[in-house]
Amino acid sequence: MTATTWKHKDLLGIQELTAAEINEVLDTAAAFKEVGDRAVKKVPSLRGKTMVNLFIEPSTRTRTSFELAAKRLSADVINITTTASSLVKGETLKDTALNLQALNVDIIVIRHSAAGAAHFLSRLLHASVINAGDGAHEHPTQALLDAFTIREKKGRIAGLNVTILGDILYSRVARSNIWLLTKLGAHVTLAGPSTLVPRVFEEFGCRVTYDIDEAIRDADVINLLRIQHERQRQTMFPSIGEYTAMFGLSKERFARTKPDAMIMHPGPINRGVEIDSEIADCGRSVILEQVTNGLAVRMAVLFLCAGRRNATEGTVGVRWSSNADG
């Protein structure tokens, strides 16, 4: 048996990962994707472990995906949302987390509106902490599933032209994607209204442009981001209609892309705003495959972070590790 080189108990962000570690997650995810095709879609890897979905910010897609991933690994799952927790009674995040740990929870998946919430918990707990989105900072599993989809469809990531379009400023998906894609050698172009795509993003190693037609002309992958109404403190563009006219992926613009350019979107999509409805459903759109791959990637992340001895468990050596296993 070969062991992985994965040494993290937590997945907090892409920024902390090396290219080799990212590839390790993607390779592991490829193995877990096959489990979804079996008659029994469940493996015993995390049997006896407990995962808590601690979602202090609304989400259905990511929470469901994590829940299903944990269940397919045979872990037990508890869901906690803000309204159903003692956070509304004034309990701090720290106390909530320590209470969960007192129940011997093994994995905490956290989504929080504050950047750094997952990092804060990881320093506090010996349970594995998985960042499912912290403010406008990172959403690492989204970037990993995007990369998995690109690699699966295009066969590689290095050297590809990837254009990320839309609300970059408020997007944790954009930040995680930028870190991941540049680490793996893709050429990243950011485009959108200048209020949402500040020039400072050039420091991340990407190209910033405000000419959408130029941004998508040579793109192998176009990743459209949703306009984050909930994170915008003031209006960053005059109207939704104007945004669609200036930066939406219309049929006319789509016709001018490379014939094999792939369309991605992390969801939820606003049909008729950032993407024309027909394009979202066309053969070059991989939006639903991203959802399928998200499950495999989250299984891989949970397996890598929690599929081994943790601080609360014993330290008995095993002979199975030696030789050709038997």
Binding site: M1, T2, A3, T4, T5, W6, K7, D27, T28, A30, A31, F32, K33, E34, V35, R38, A39, V40, K42, V43, P44, S45, L46, G48, K49, F303, L304, G307, R308, R309, N310, E313, G314, V316, G317, V318, R319, W320, S321, S322, N323, A324, D325, G326
Partner: protein
């Protein structure tokens, strides 16, 4: 018999290796196993071969080819990665590398020959049996192992064995195959 020095944990240990089977012996053993498989499976229409990654896979392919050339037919071959089914995950410091299983045929009602390179504690086979049942309900599962080195920790016994090798628990047996390692041989490290 060769002796070399291995450095582990800052100390030098004398490690001796001996060849248990060369390429020709390995080939003869597989041929004999193929004939035994033919003998014990009078109805070969439901026979399939599943190799346990990594070295069980080329062994399964070779056995399927040999049985196929005796019976003049082709048999489906699948591969299994048992790492998701290990019983020792929570005892390890690092998770194992997992690879994809690839069984493209329906296993329900089939007579499976499960193939591995070295049979030792039996825990890999336990995991493989669990995993196969996630794909369907085979009629029968038989076990073929190129080497049986003893020291079982579970009630598992092979149906077809290339070579029985008495070993000490701390010794290591390596099967090398041309498809993966460039040459065929079985060696023991003492």
């Amino acid at each position: 018999m060769a002796v070399c020095l291995t450095r582990a944990g800052g100390f030098f240990y004398a490690v001796s290796t001996a060849v248990l089977m060369d390429g020709a012996a390995l080939e003869r053993a597989l041929t004999r196993m193929a004939h035994e498989i033919v003998e014990h499976n009078p109805g070969p229409e439901s026979l399939v071969f599943i190799g346990i990654r990594t070295h069980g896979v080329p062994l399964a392919q070779r056995l399927a080819r040999k049985v196929g050339s005796i019976l003049k037919r082709e048999f489906p071959i699948g591969q299994l990665d048992i790492n998701m089914h290990r019983d020792d995950l929570s005892l390890r410091d690092q998770p194992p590398k997992v690879g994809p299983s690839d069984i493209t045929f329906d296993v329900t009602g089939k007579d499976i020959v499960l193939v591995d390179d070295v049979l030792f504690t039996g825990r890999t086979i336990r995991a493989a049996l669990d995993e196969i049942s996630d794909f369907g309900r085979p009629r029968k599962i038989q076990l073929a192992s190129l080497v049986d080195r003893g020291h079982r920790e579970l009630p598992i016994r092979p149906d077809y064995v290339g070579k029985n090798v008495p070993t000490a628990p701390q010794e290591r047996v390596y099967v090398r195959l041309a498809e993966i390692d460039g040459k065929d041989e079985v060696v023991i490290e003492r």
